[in-house]
Amino acid sequence: MSINRFGQDAALIALDKFRTGKIDRRGFMTAMAGLGIAVAFKPGRASAAASEIVVCNWGGAALEAFQKAYGEPFKAKSGIEVVIDGAGPATGAIRAMVDSKNVTWDATDGGMTDAVVLGKGGYVVPIDYSIVDKSLVGEGLAAEFGICNYTYSNVLAYDAKKVGATAPSSWNDFFDLEKFPGKRTMCKWIQGQLEAVLLADGVKPEEIYPLDVDRAFKKLEPLLPNLIFWDSGAQSQQLFRDGEVVMGNIWHTRANLLRKENPNYTWTWNQNLMFASAWSVPKGNPAGKKVFDFINSSMDPEGQVTLLRIMGNGPSNPKALALMTDEDKAVYSLAPENAKTGLAISAQYYADNEAELQNKFLDFISR
């Protein structure tokens, strides 16, 4: 997911919350002011001043959410202003910036896979673990070129009213057209799609990687006439609302919003597919090493729980669990009871194969 579609999506969710009055106006206005400043940092303009950190995320209300969760606490501690630029740090954009030696971002919010890909291409610098405390994040969430800022999952969501007496409880049920007639939705973007197919086909979680693509396609082929592919989180939600699908492989944040609208929509955490998002630092970033102080500060559990409450993005710091209510835990993919049957998506595997696989997948579903 080299365009961090999840990050973009989380931002949209938060914007919606602001519109419906679930986030206060003042915070939102602060973010807008921040955006005004951020606009001045478009490529080709002066780079960030020495006394600030420019963070690039996916825009919308994640501007304000990131400011609350990461920016304000950091400013309180260090006096350094954090500016959030919502331009969207697609790998293509970062590459263009570094290639033209015109880097305006200090930290970018991308997938863990992007961190590996960008690192391999020499577009980002290694995370300085002499400044960033590795032990603040859960196991496997700190990599050479990226450290996890939040987590999320793909889950099996369904419309309880349409699936009958027994609810689907595994990816196997996703393929069972006899027991659960009706259309399903999957994502057009490859990560977390074939894993679900292979789990349904009986592959053991520990043997999922490397993905057996041919086997997955063979399993998926008969289901194609009953599949609608979603492109954005908002669309995945709409397909349920419109009654177009009875179940789907969607982000847990969207499933959660659906459930808040209407309790008939719910999901199972069983066999959920766990993703890690990550901070990366573009090569030649304006603030230099200072950015690592910011990254270290963003691991504070309080800020991370704030983000969970605003947008549903789960903390990467295990200590955050102690600050959570039961309600918080119910939407947190790394809560022990939810992570028990979860499968961690392999960033390394996708770093090596995503481009190839994404093209194969698009070709396969459009035949």
Binding site: A90, T91, V117, K188, D231, S366
Partner: protein, 279 residues
């Protein structure tokens, strides 16, 4: 050159320079990537022709564009023909109706079509409710839906181009044909159609070029099931970082469009269209 002409020429220089520096040069830089990325040479172009998946994307694009163009031209001609024959007051209202969708964002229109065409959408509900069909029809998330959306998008353009051309035809010619005993059908095919060739050619060319590079409508109404060139390029640029393949494909697309325009400009009809109707 008279001094006035010199002045007039000088006034166009800034705009031309601006376009050259801020548009043409950057595009050339991007296109140059297709020969340098990831290694120097024609590798990307060879890959384009060897890759079965890209072949399928190109075939889909050509097919959808061709069908869109034919349908748009036929329907738009009917509308433009009717516009020419209306009393002025009615025509003003009709023209306004043509322009309304033209002013609505392409995104909004694509989503509106989803609402109409989806399984539980307006159209299927009406069809199932009236007993016309027993099962909802598959009208969207496939090529059919993409073509519907694209034709709808293109029609105002085609109608305006054709109407401009048809309204310039001297109606006395039609009267002359009638007085010589031609039947309405004969008049249509032997007088109207030949005289509207410049309009048909320019509208057709416009729609083909537009369709080949269409991004938003196929992406939304096709929902992954209809993959066209523009979307493929956009995925390679921002997601898979295969800039070499993306720029090679863009170069090919640009070349195809240039060749189409060059071929079209050889036809007298189109030259007439570009040079204006009055001699």
């Amino acid at each position: 050159m008279t001094s006035f002409q010199r002045w007039a020429f000088c006034l166009t220089v800034p705009a031309a320079l601006l376009t050259l520096c801020l548009y043409v040069l950057p595009i050339l830089q991007v296109l140059a990537l297709s020969f340098t990325e990831p290694t120097l040479g024609f590798g990307n172009y060879v890959a384009l022709f060897q890759n079965a998946a890209i072949g399928r994307v190109v075939r889909t694009t050509v097919f959808v564009s061709a069908v869109t163009t034919v349908l748009t031209i036929v329907m738009s001609y009917a509308v433009a023909f009717a516009l020419v024959h209306m009393p002025p007051a009615t025509r003003r209202v009709a023209l306004f109706m043509v322009m309304v969708p033209f002013w609505i964002s392409v995104l909004v229109r694509a989503f509106a079509w989803i609402t109409i065409l989806r399984r539980n959408g307006v159209l299927n509900s009406a069809l199932v409710g009236s007993g016309a069909v027993s099962e909802p029809l598959e009208l969207v998330y496939n090529q059919f839906g993409v073509i519907v959306g694209m034709v709808h998008y293109m029609m105002p353009f085609a109608i305006m181009l054709l109407y401009a051309n048809l309204s310039e035809i001297d109606l006395r010619i039609i009267q002359a044909a009638r007085s010589l005993g031609a039947r309405p059908v004969t008049i249509f095919f032997r007088v109207w159609v030949p005289l509207s060739m410049p309009g048909l050619a320019i509208a057709g060319l416009f729609i083909v070029i537009f369709s080949l590079g269409f991004l938003v409508t196929p992406a939304i109404l096709g929902a992954g099931r209809v993959l066209m060139v523009a979307e493929y390029i956009s995925v390679q640029i921002s997601s898979t970082l295969r800039w070499g393949v993306a720029t090679a494909l863009s170069t090919m697309l640009l070349l195809v469009v240039a060749i189409l325009v060059a071929l079209a400009m050889r036809s007298p009809a189109l030259r007439a269209a570009f040079e204006g109707g009055r001699k």
